[in-house]
């Protein structure tokens, strides 16, 4: 069965390791799957002008972001032979070392998931209206720029 329903991809705060583990466990009943691929984005303690990033605060234009994510899902399902796909992104404050993006794709064979995960993550970075504020230890901040 292919999951294609529109759903909320946003999480308040960091994505917990337990949540990721539970997501894996939920797929054990789907025995047509032979390959999973996971991408985890983690907040990096970059040094910017001598100051260390302690957290990123994410905001999004949520209504548009959900539509764009929906379109990315549709294209990915069309392009790759996937069984299912899950995208979770944090909103609000995520500390350095915590997970802010969790993309999980599954298919019967490995080729589809390797190709799909790259496509989906790159599309998210380029097209989804999410904005990260890099907060330093002294509570000053800069707006993050994706590289």
């Amino acid at each position: 069965m292919i999951e294609k329903t529109k759903k909320n991809c946003f999480h308040s705060g960091a994505i917990a390791a337990e949540f990721i583990g539970n997501s894996i466990a939920k797929h054990q009943t789907k025995t047509s799957i032979g390959a999973h691929q996971i991408f985890l984005g983690q907040v990096r303690a970059d040094i910017i002008d001598g100051k260390e990033v302690k957290a990123i605060e994410y905001t999004a234009y949520e209504a548009m972001a959900e539509n764009v994510l929906h379109d990315i899902r549709e294209v990915a399902f069309d392009r790759y032979d996937l069984t299912c796909m899950h995208i979770h992104h944090s909103l609000g404050v995520v500390k350095a070392g915590e997970i802010c993006l969790f993309v999980f794709v599954s298919a019967s064979r490995r080729k589809a998931v390797f190709d799909a995960i790259t496509f989906i993550v790159e599309e998210i970075k380029a097209k989804v209206p999410i904005f990260g504020k890099e907060i330093f230890e002294d509570d000053t901040y800069v707006w993050k720029k994706n590289t």
Partner: protein
Amino acid sequence: MGIKCPIRYYGIISDIVDMEADLAEFNGDVPSLHDLKLALEDAFPDMREVNYLFAVNQQLVSDLSMELKENDEIALLPAFSGG
């Protein structure tokens, strides 16, 4: 007769205008995105230093001559930095 459109500001632009949302009122001729851009850059000169895109009703719009209608939801979106 004028029109009103909700505007949303994101990222560094919300800092420059010191707001996350507003209601824009346009009087007189049918306004375009270009008119709005000029008005905002007059009011907030720092906007000229930032690259940003417009979305109208949650769709990116590259043609700034697009005419606005009553209640169109406008968003000003600087560079995305998700993930």
